[in-house]
Amino acid sequence: MDKLKIGVLAMQGAFVEHEQMLQSLGCDTVQVRKVEHLADLDGLIIPGGESTTIGKLLVDFGLAESVQKRAQQGMPVWGTCAGLILMAKEIAGSEQYRLGLMDITAVRNAFGRQVDSFEVPLAIDEVSSEPYPAVFIRAPFIEKAGPSVKILAEHNGKVVMARQGSFLASAFHPELTQDGRVHAYFMDVVRESRQKV
């Protein structure tokens, strides 16, 4: 089987860390800044950063609709932190731009400001039987999720990771750790979707 080619949206934020992790797991990566960078990608990651900044640049450079179109045609997409917010259909108390790929309601800065940012060992049974070192930075959580959304992890009763078909959202930052298990999980989602095509 060919190598997977996974794009990382490079409008703003921690896209290089995602690329490094994917490369260490044997993927080819592409920094996605323009529509043509989406061609022949097997999957896409929307990284952490500022969701308002990334959303605005997606619209201004005509990338938003193309990403939505590819996603609706079956390209797996994973959003981390700001990426989770952009994946959501609803954002509590905000009109900011979002891709709206997942039937979830995101709450921004839901655990507080930077002084409340934290690390915690997180149980994600679907990913691994051992807890994952999750890094939460001014993180969102998922307040509501539709019936076709599968909850993958919770912290203090708040949903922090979920999957809907080949779409994935996590409130924390696997790219800031040296632990590739969540990226490997997303690569499995990408492989499954490739087999369907």
Binding site: A10, M11, Q12, G13, A14, F15, V16, E17, R33, G48, G49, E50, T52, T53, K56, L57, D60, F61, C81, A82, S94, R108, N109, R113, Q114, V115, D116, S117, F118, E119, V120, P121, L122, P131, V135, F136, I137, R138, H173, L176
Partner: protein, 295 residues
């Protein structure tokens, strides 16, 4: 399961999230909203922008907490605030307000002429200015989780930011080619902690995110700094001292993302109105150069 707050990973991690972005100086909630709408990844809450601090003279201090709190209320993006070099009580106050990052800044009048703040004491992360690798690594040794070039604030003249970015990059390049036995003497010469010198020699980069600051006034300036290898830019006086802050702010954000694409840079540089009036560095008396502050 135990939750840990204020760890090095989350302090450094917020800076990682700001990469590829523009942090804008703002003095009012209205300006903060303009910055957020234009795509700023964070704002710096100030009472006066550096150009006005320079013009006013006298002692420049931490902003009134009311100014910081109002700006925090106005936007959802991270809000930074400045404390004077060595003034750890100003930093304690800013931390208690809930500021997301503290800039221990040469733009304000230093409160201590020998020592910087011990930034390890705080849960809130700090960014500090640097003109060279030694200065950057001393600040990181004290606990800074993010570095920015100093440039010369409030001038609208990018030459000093370029000089400082090139200086840091060239010292890093030199270091990566050094055999291990030369590292201790190099550490002594630049006045930097030995363990951090070894880390930079191995990794070929600073151990924290490095932004450019001090004199960036146009989209081309921002792209220039990005092409020189910084992770993002601070724009101080350059936006709200220009003729059309909304357009200029948007253009600088776009230029920071598409810094390697001259066609996009040409497009966003059109019709921006008057840039801020710049100052030639030699016309600033040596004792009024902000970059000299810091030890």
């Amino acid at each position: 399961m135990t939750t840990e707050k204020g760890t090095w990973t989350v302090k450094k991690g917020l800076a990682e999230m700001l990469k590829g972005g523009v942090i804008m100086d703002v003095t009012t909630p209205e300006q903060a909203k303009i910055a957020e709408a234009a795509g700023a990844c964070a704002v710096m809450a100030l009472e006066r922008v550096p150009a006005d601090i320079r013009a006013a003279g006298g002692v420049a201090r931490m902003a009134d907490p009311t100014v910081v709190l109002r700006i925090m209320d106005a936007v959802t993006i991270p809000v930074m605030a400045k404390a004077r070099i060595g003034h750890f009580v100003e930093a304690q106050i800013l931390e208690s307000l809930g500021a997301d990052y503290i800039d221990e800044s040469e733009v304000l009048t230093p409160a201590d002429d020998l020592y910087h703040i011990n930034k390890h004491d705080f849960k809130v992360p700090f960014v500090c200015g640097a003109r060279n690798l030694g200065e950057a690594l001393r600040r990181i040794g004290e606990g800074a989780a993010m570095i920015r070039t100093k440039g010369e604030p409030g001038t609208g003249n990018v030459v000093e930011a370029v000089r400082h970015a090139r200086q840091v990059m060239s010292e890093i390049r030199k270091l990566t080619n050094m055999p291990h036995e030369e590292l201790m003497t190099f550490a002594k010469e630049i006045g930097a902690p030995y363990d951090l010198v070894c880390m930079v020699a191995k990794e070929g980069r600073l151990p924290v995110v490095n932004f450019a600051a001090g004199g960036i006034a146009t989209p081309a300036d921002a792209a220039l700094m990005m092409q020189l290898g910084v992770d993002g830019v601070f724009v101080g006086s350059g936006i709200f001292k220009s003729g059309d802050p909304v357009r200029r702010a948007k253009a600088i954000v776009a230029a920071t993302t598409h810094y390697n694409d001259p066609q996009v840079l040409a497009e966003v540089s059109k019709d921006l109105g008057e840039p801020m009036v710049g100052i030639e560095i030699p016309t600033i008396p040596a004792d009024q150069r902000m970059q000299e502050r810091g030890w």
